[in-house]
């Protein structure tokens, strides 16, 4: 099972936010799982076309995902996926 972890900044809006164990094959599925666990949180991460928001980053391990449009990057059971905010503005 992959693990999904979140920037603590999202706890302001979702105080009960905890890491999620995910049986997902790619990032898109992981975002859908996030939405099923925390209703409305998907909208903080992607826009209504499903594209990663401009100032949000998703890492798998230490690597930024490559596909910000369709979130097709693959997830393995051993992966840790991080939802982070970009350091826009310094």
């Amino acid at each position: 099972m992959a693990t999904i972890k979140f920037t603590s900044n999202l706890k302001r809006f979702y105080p009960d936010l905890r890491p999620i164990e995910a049986n997902c094959s790619n990032v898109r599925e992981a975002v859908e799982l996030i939405e099923s666990e925390y209703e409305g949180l998907k909208d903080y991460i992607v826009d209504e076309r499903g594209r990663l928001r401009k100032h949000v980053n998703i890492f798998i391990g230490n690597q930024l995902i490559k596909d910000r449009e369709k979130l097709s990057d693959a997830l393995k059971a051993s992966d840790e996926l991080y939802v982070m905010q970009a350091l826009s503005g310094g």
Partner: protein, 362 residues
């Protein structure tokens, strides 16, 4: 005229609430909501009593909040563009900014409108629980080829005027496209930009592509409309069918963003001028508010209580408001000013606010 004893200040770092006791001119800062989060607009719907806040998180997108009491807020799903909609061919439409808000007509409490960048008007008939794109405006044949961004990347609706007595009659104004009117509840829209002159267009008289910065009307005589335009100040006496340039030929009342219309006197309006689009700062380092009492034939500049040197503030389009003889405006450098004498003299409510996006008496 209803009492309005609350002043909502939407800022770069939250929503600040000021209140006065009934009959008093002493305004006090009473609450701050959404600390640290940019608030583009805030309002209280007089028909329902609900408070509204439109947020623009730097990271997490645009969010819409409502509150029954001004204390406890509830996040709603902000308006979203339907699958497949495009700003232009190949550019998917997504909600980038919540830029205008209006309640519906008196007869339809719980109806609200929100204007957005990239140019969609959204309507809710269930007090914000869900929204629908107003299709006929979005599908207007001029949109894809003649609307464009002004101040923002894509076209944006910043002004919504709903006739309180007639739910089928409203205006919206768009930077850059111009003003459009519907008299059939949004099923069809007519441009209302005759007389405007856009000096940034190949054809300055083009009916589409104008840049109204804000459009208001006189509530007591809604045939009288005012607009602070990118290219001057205009007034209409026939419900927007024709506009006359009322800019001051040799004075400060010319470029700016905000305009406030008297609720009762169709000859009276206020602007807060700035140096035109190349600089966007206060004129000669000094702030003034200009008022016309004769439908724009002449303007008076008022400076008492405002800084007259080393000022760089400008006032964004939603950051000037009036109720009765009381006005407030907020500036890009976080100064909040109040006048209790029709704009003739000013006092400071704060010099230390974040950049101010909007002020609204409620």
């Amino acid at each position: 005229m209803a009492d309005k004893n609350i002043l909502l200040v939407g800022s770069r770092k939250g929503l600040m609430v000021y209140q006065r006791a009934k009959g008093s001119q002493e305004w006090k800062h009473t609450d701050t909501h959404f600390l640290g989060i940019p608030v583009s607009l805030a309002a209280i719907d007089a028909h329902t009593g609900y408070w509204w806040a439109m947020l623009d998180h730097g990271h997490w997108g645009c969010k819409l909040h409502r509150s029954a009491d001004g204390k406890v807020w509830e996040e709603l799903e902000a308006p979203k563009y339907p699958e497949g909609e495009e700003v232009k061919d190949g550019v998917p439409a997504t909600t980038r900014y919540l830029w205008a808000f209006s309640p519906g007509a008196k007869s339809e409490p719980g109806t609200i409108y929100i204007g957005t960048e990239p140019g969609g008007l959204f309507k809710s008939t269930n007090n914000g629980d869900s929204f629908e794109l107003v299709r006929a405006l979005w599908d207007h044949p001029s949109r894809k080829d003649q609307w464009f961004g002004g101040g923002r990347d894509y076209p944006g609706i910043h002004s919504i005027l709903v006739n309180p007595e007639n739910p089928d009659h409203l205006y919206v104004s768009i930077s850059c496209a111009g003003t459009f009117e519907t008299t059939d509840g949004g099923k069809s829209w007519e441009p209302r930009n005759k007389g405007l002159k856009a000096d940034f267009l190949p054809d300055p008289n083009s009916e589409i592509g104008q840049d109204p910065h804000l459009v208001e009307w006189c509530m007591a005589n809604r045939q009288v409309m005012w607009q602070q335009n990118h290219c001057g100040i205009y007034r209409s006496a026939d419900g927007g069918k024709n506009w006359a340039d009322i800019s001051e030929a040799n004075g400060p009342a010319n470029f700016g963003f905000a305009i406030a219309a008297s609720e009762t006197n169709p000859q009276r309006a206020w602007v807060v001028p700035g140096v035109s689009d190349m600089l966007r700062v206060a004129i000669d380092g000094a702030l003034c508010v200009c008022r016309t009492d004769d439908g724009g034939a002449t303007w008076k500049a008022f400076r008492k209580g405002l800084p007259q040197e080393s000022a760089y503030d400008i006032v964004y389009r939603h950051a000037l408001d009036v109720v009765g003889n009381t006005l407030a405006f907020g500036t890009t450098t976080g100064n909040l000013y109040l006048s209790a004498d029709d704009g003739e003299s000013w006092e400071v409510l704060s010099h230390n606010l974040p950049m101010i996006h909007s002020v609204a008496f409620c």
